[in-house]
């Protein structure tokens, strides 16, 4: 280890201990007894054992105070010292316990991304906006396609009653979440006659659903003719008339004068 590197580690760790960024336990967590046993000279071990045996309490502070930071940095390998410094820095910067932002918010299908987006405002509102730009910028054109859809599109689909998209069930939850910063236009060229940007779409009101119409008859391979259409229309009217007939309108054919074919009155007429 060069003198410059040793001086750097010495100053860094000593200052960290001085200002409270690090504790002796942090140092001993890397400069473990095993590391010390391998790299510390025996005279230093003599001092350390003597101090430990003479002290009422043996703790990392005693070890660091006895060995001293310059001696530690002189003998402990730089990789171990760097690991210690890096851990201290990450912790001081608040990165030690925070997981990297998930990239699934944009890349994964909507159904999988919904729980992440929905739970974020409750836990850490500031973390919601951060992952999206990172994921969008890192994924580039791949993340841009509107396969996942914007929230406006999902809302519109829900209004139209689109049943088959997996995100339809959870769409209201997503729609209530305030949108993060606008992502900008997609990289693909806008469609002709459509709106210029997806972010500019306004929420659409649910259109009244028309009564279900009768599904068209499956077409046969035979060419259709005019008679086919007429037969089909007549059947429809016939069915409609059947449904509207009441019981009072039914005729008892066995007693009707128009339909009786035998009896006295009929014979008298004849």
């Amino acid at each position: 280890m060069t003198a410059h590197l040793r001086a750097f580690f010495t100053a860094t760790i000593a200052k960290a201990l001085e200002v409270g960024v690090a504790t002796p336990a942090d140092v001993v967590a890397h400069a473990t007894p095993e590391v010390l046993a391998q790299h510390l000279p025996r005279p230093e071990w003599t001092k350390l054992l003597a101090a430990c045996l003479g002290a009422a309490r043996t703790d990392p502070a005693l070890v660091v105070d006895t060995v001293t930071v310059p001696v530690l940095c002189e003998h402990v390998p730089p990789t171990i010292l760097w690991a210690c410094v890096a851990k201290l820095a990450n912790r001081a910067l608040g990165r030690g316990l925070v997981a990297p932002p998930p990239a699934v918010a944009v890349m994964t299908p909507v159904a999988a991304a919904v729980p992440v987006v929905a739970s974020a405002p409750v836990a850490a509102p500031a973390a919601v906006a951060a992952p999206a730009p990172v994921a969008a910028s890192s994924s580039g054109p791949v993340a841009a396609p509107a396969r996942a859809g914007t929230s406006d599109e999902r809302t519109a689909d829900a209004g139209r009653g689109a049943p088959s998209r997996g995100s339809t069930v959870d769409v209201p939850r997503v729609a209530r979440i305030p949108e993060p910063a606008p992502l900008g236009d997609p990289p693909s060229a806008p469609r002709a006659g459509s709106r210029t940007g997806l972010g500019a779409r306004r929420p659409q009101a649910a259109a009244p659903v028309p009564p279900p119409s009768r599904a068209p008859e499956p077409r046969t391979s035979r060419a259709s003719t005019a008679t086919d259409f007429e037969v089909e229309a007549d059947l429809g009217g016939w069915k409609k008339d059947l449904e509207q007939v009441d019981d009072d309108q039914l005729i008892d054919w066995s007693q009707s004068e128009e339909t009786v074919t035998s009896g006295e009155r009929l014979d008298r007429k004849r």
């Binding site: 473990t32 007894p33 046993a37 391998q38 025996r42 003599t46 350390l48 003597a50 002290a55 070890v63």
Partner: protein, 87 residues
């Protein structure tokens, strides 16, 4: 002999470490033993002669420490016990 003296309380751990000084231990014990001694002391919160000898057993003492040091320990204990008179 070291184990028997400790078991029979002819001498105790503190008597052993009075001769097996930190310098002797640091000079003669292998690194893995030094590491165990310090680690166990840090875990327990103190380094006592009893704890040192729990790690550095009499067998290990006899294996790594100079025998004249161990003999001085035994001789001093015998002198304290008053059994050294007939030289």
């Amino acid at each position: 002999m070291m184990e028997s003296g400790l078991t029979q309380e002819i001498f105790g751990p503190a008597d052993v470490l009075r001769h097996a000084t930190p310098e002797v231990l640091a000079t003669n014990l292998p690194p893995e033993l030094l590491s165990k001694v310090l680690a166990s002391s840090l875990a327990a919160g103190s380094m006592t002669p009893e704890r040192v000898l729990e790690t550095v057993t009499p067998e290990l003492l006899a294996r790594h420490l100079p025998h004249d040091v161990l003999w001085e320990c035994i001789a001093a204990a015998a002198e304290r016990a008053g059994i050294v008179g007939g030289r």
